[in-house]
Symmetry: C2
Subunit: 212 residues, 2 copies
């Protein structure tokens, strides 16, 4: 049993209370969440291959977040799950569509479920040793990311891409693995009115944090 606050705020023995979450993907909010983080264009130095295009966009940056996460975690034990929504504004930098930094879980066998809520995009999924896959996600579509897959979301549409996620509370994130590898194996680039996948010529293989 964990401890949870009573209605008077005094911790007492007993399970933590259930959490009611209101999904508001269009406005990018998760009602009932207890954590939020935001990423700004200035945080994404080195994420996109075209450094000139990135600097040009920075010069005209309006300072609003380019993506953010609202999430809920109320249990620290091994049985707890973290759930939240990830909201990614649309855009293009050079030829690459707007994307998140991406990560592998720090405990790399931990899997994650993503459920499309609004907008249209893809997930790039790289096995640490093996395949690279690019799969679509949007309303009515979910992607189960097993352990040992580095993953990132890409907004290939013109609206916000909002996804709901759920993963083990102890999973953690290794956000550096992609930077150390020179990027993911695949790029998702503008191709006419749509998108296509190209191999990333800068990718030099993944190195796990434990071995780095």
């Amino acid at each position: 049993m964990s401890t949870g606050p009573t209605s008077a705020g005094v911790p007492t023995a007993g399970p933590v209370p259930p959490v009611l979450l209101a999904l508001r993907p269009e406005i990018g909010e998760l009602g009932g969440s207890n954590a939020r983080y935001e990423k700004f264009l200035t945080d994404l130095e080195g994420l996109y291959r075209d450094a000139d295009a990135y600097r040009e966009q920075l010069a005209g940056d309006d300072g609003r977040p380019v993506y953010w996460v609202e999430s809920s975690q109320t249990e620290d034990g091994p049985g707890g799950l973290i759930t939240g929504i990830s909201v990614l504004e649309p855009g293009v930098v050079g030829t690459e569509y707007a994307m998140t930094r991406g990560h592998l879980h720090a405990i790399s066998d931990r899997s994650e479920l993503y459920v499309g809520l609004s907008g249209h995009g893809v997930m790039i999924l790289d096995a640490v040793e093996g395949d690279s896959r690019v799969v679509e996600i949007g309303p009515g579509q979910a992607v189960y990311v097993p352990g040992h897959w580095v993953h990132r979301s890409v907004n290939t549409g013109t609206e916000r891409l909002s996804t709901l996620f759920c993963y083990a509370g102890d999973a953690g994130q290794d956000y550096g693995i992609i930077e150390r590898a020179g990027g993911m194996k695949s790029l998702v680039v503008v191709d006419g009115d749509g998108w296509s996948v190209q191999p990333n010529p800068d990718h030099r293989g993944y190195e796990l944090a434990e071995r780095a």
Copy 2:
């Protein structure tokens, strides 16, 4: 690393592949799932308090499932998650709205996320020792069920109630705990055009399977 089948079906070292899931709540299907189970009215002897009303419905039963689950599990290890949809037909037996058997996880600290996809209902949540809560679930609403809470879905609407769920692959289910307790702590009953909650006079406290 787990082993996964290659496209030729020969197991090979490497992570299992990602799974693409198509949510079709209105027709009660999860595209890409690899398991399904169904519950029929004949399976639910003793679930509803009004035994006469139950027998009367059985006499006119059309033999179609009253609820079913389509799910996906591809990893056996500690990092794997099971995800799926639960689909519950509407109905009333005596004064109680149609419901699932409900369960506590066999590893009782394992939590579960439910996301409303279609229809309207409630979840009854009983702490093994403590509170009983009844919370609404429907499109745009999610309920995080922490460990140590017995939980059940109830369809209080006139359409199918479909929810997406996600929980740890090792959690398991103790389906007998509610029967051993004489039912859950709360009943969700017809009240005019809506529903209300009544204490269940038959509930005699929960006994965990380990101690039973």
